[in-house]
Amino acid sequence: MKKLSENTTDLLQEIKTEASELPKNKRRDFMLNGLKLTAGTALATTVGQVAASQSNLPPNVPEWSKTLGRGVVSVPYGLPSSYESDVIRRTVEWLTADKIASISMTPLHEMSGIITPSGLHFERYHGGVPDINPNEHRLMINGMVDRPLLFTMDDLMRFPSESHIHFLECPANGGMEWRGAQMEALQFTHGMLSGSEWTGVRLSTLLQEAGIKPGAKWVLAEGADAAGMSRSIPIDKALDDTLIVFAQNGEMLRPEQGYPVRLFTPGWEGNTSVKWLRRIEVGDMPWEHREETSKYTDLLADGTARRHTFVQEVNSVITSPCPEKPIQGKGLLQLEGIAWSGRGKVKRVDVSLDGGVSWQTAKIKGLVLTKSLTRFSMEINWQGEPLLLQSRAIDETGYVQPTLAQLREARGTNSIYHKNSIHTWQVQTDGAVNNVQLG
């Protein structure tokens, strides 16, 4: 994203120096120690926990069975169990100069199904999260329309609404790894990705209400935040599946996701789904604002740059095992992952255990929806052999997720955005999982 983009090169240089200054293999040592704890048989942490809570295990009757629990509305808005306190969004501090124009990632390794809890949806904004009073918020439609309109939130919610399950992904997801693997955790390699049920009014309904003038080809969406985020959207997309969204996963949007109203462009790069939406202008050419020129354009090795790269092409990743979720022990292993495509439905996912020499088709689990996270799984019998795990998704257009070598060959390593290549996890004999790339 912005800061990634602009600073990636410097960052990578910084990283190299920083890395070489660090005690060598600090991380690896930690990981191995961690694994001895989890993958071995006599597990230090588990042993500790067992000792502390022996009295709650059979044949004893646990504490919580012998006392009454909390009453209703003692927590009027429910929260996760206190034992889940490490399931949180995280950021990588060195990516951006400050936390106001920055990004945080979803803990994908802790997620089930295809919906991300709203409070764990990744965050990305350029001028902080505004605190908007919905009664004082307005959505304006102006430009090439018969009648410019101004809507209150009440007005908007009187129009017919729709609910759809879609993923939302920042096009810089994975963008730190064009030159080499450097993020030792799934949360950081793929966490600029979430899935939600979005509810709102079709933009086409509102444009019809205003009446589009002949010759209209683009719309500008503009936010009410301090960044005044603005993106140009071709009219075809605006009249297709683009929504003016006010609710996410059954409740009003979270402030970080654009409360009280945002644009949502299914399958397209996250930045085009402008949050805190205050205005839609209809025009006959793109505006070429900062987020569609300086940023969110894809620089190629020859110095030319691709622009208006809206679609998030098919992508997939194995979520278990992963660096944060090493294999627990020998025996049957439920390998799981997610796949998604901005062009439609995921048709098939193949898994390789040997770095792409041979592939097997995985089972699709649960719902297969257009432009949505789609879960896949495969049962394997692991007997402690080292693995090079990969997943390769194919969408309904027939497009096959590419290898990193293919992407680098076509684009070089300075594109930042839209790195949707096959990802490799290296499984060690003790079950530890490392992020690697294949040369």
């Binding site: 983009s5 602009e6 990283i15 920083e18 890395a19 600090k26 991380r27 930690f30 990588v92 100069a97 400050d98 936390k99 106001i100 001028g127 902080g128 919905p134 410019p148 309109l149 101004l150 939130m153 080499g180 693997a181 450097q182 993020m183 955790a185 950081f188 309904t205 209400e209 503009e222 960044a227 603005s230 409740e251 205005r279 050419m285 070429e288 900062r290 020129t293 300086s294 620089l299 030319t304 740059a305 691709r306 208006h308 679609v311 193949d350 770095g355 792409g356 020499v357 592939w359 090079l388 194919i394 096959v400 997720q401 590419p402 992407l407 060959e409 290296q426 690697v436 790339q437 040369g439």
Partner: protein, 313 residues
């Protein structure tokens, strides 16, 4: 779910009938319309329609010279972007980098990468200075835009930028953008013997750059503690002061750095609060009034200063 009328239910009985009538008149006016919302006035549109296009559409009347821009830039932009657009610390670089786009380490700046000058005008008014967006006048924006173009050697130092001559500015990199033509790669669905296993080389990660503290023992508690200690002062600080004081940007004393704060704290809290409110030019740099966020009350600023002192003792 949001509904501004939820408290009005008791008084609704009579109102419903009257409103029902009203809505139906509107709806009957044009059968294809819902009739919700109202016409936006020209005045309302003028206040919000701030976008500028490459063809100049949207530019307000006005002008500004490179010379005027220099002073404005140094006062409002240089603390982050550097006197020559070179970027202080990790803040964005605005100038230089010509001819580097095809290099191993390209430097993308306004001059080397941006295809249109209108983008600079639009973004500067819309989003900069970072701590006070939409605070520049049209003439100031023309002048600062002219100056940033001058730093990039796109206009000369005598130049005066105006609505009238805006379209004469051509950015050198404009021809190098092309429309999305993906898919640009084609993988196959090979299932067997797809490559020679002996050809596989495993390249590991660069160690030590991922924040992994949370995977170590006891991490959850630390995170919970950190999350619970939110104060108003801290919130204000994060919003308006951290941009500089977190990292010591622009010569500001870094929060938490007891050495940098020792002498300052010794002058007394009252003095520090006063300077934070009214602004202050010291030996190290410029502390803008209220950190550039004039919407803060004096109390807000005082609380932020208290928080900074507490963290820096």
């Amino acid at each position: 779910m949001y509904n501004s009328v939820k408290k009005k239910f008791k008084t609704l009985v009579l109102a419903v009938a009257a409103q029902g009538l009203l809505t139906s008149t509107v709806a009957f006016a044009d059968e294809s319309k819902y009739g919700f919302g109202r016409t936006a006035t020209q005045e309302e549109i003028a206040g919000w329609d701030i976008d500028i296009r490459p063809d100049g559409q949207g530019l307000p009347a006005g002008s500004g010279s490179v010379a005027d821009g220099e002073g404005l830039y140094e006062a409002k932009c240089a603390s982050c972007h550097g006197l020559f657009g070179e970027g202080e610390g990790r803040w964005p670089v605005l100038a230089g980098g010509e001819g580097t786009l095809a290099h191993e380490r390209p430097e993308k700046t306004v001059g080397s990468y941006w295809p249109y000058a209108s983008t600079l005008w639009d973004y500067t008014r819309r989003a900069m200075p970072f701590t006070a967006p939409q605070s520049l006048t049209a003439d100031e924006t023309y002048a600062i835009t002219a100056y940033v173009l001058y730093l990039n050697e796109i206009v000369d130092e005598e130049f005066v930028l105006s609505k009238e001559n805006f379209s004469t500015i051509k950015m050198p990199n404009e021809p190098n953008f092309f429309e999305d033509d993906r898919p640009d790669v084609k993988n196959t669905t090979c299932m067997k013997d797809c490559k020679d296993p002996a050809s596989i080389k495993v390249v590991s990660t660069i160690a030590g750059v991922t924040p992994l503290e949370h995977l170590e023992e006891g991490a959850a508690e630390t995170a919970a503690e950190a999350a619970s200690e939110t104060t108003h002062g801290k919130a204000i600080y994060n919003q308006s002061c951290a941009v500089c004081h977190d990292h010591g940007v622009a010569g500001s004393p870094k929060t938490g750095d007891a050495d940098a704060w020792g002498d300052r704290i010794a002058t007394g809290t009252e003095m520090l609060v006063k300077r934070a409110i009214t602004g202050y030019v010291g030996d190290e740099g410029v502390m803008p009034p209220k950190g550039g966020n004039m919407s803060l009350s004096d109390e807000d600023v005082a609380e932020a200063v208290h928080y900074m002192i507490e963290k820096s003792q």
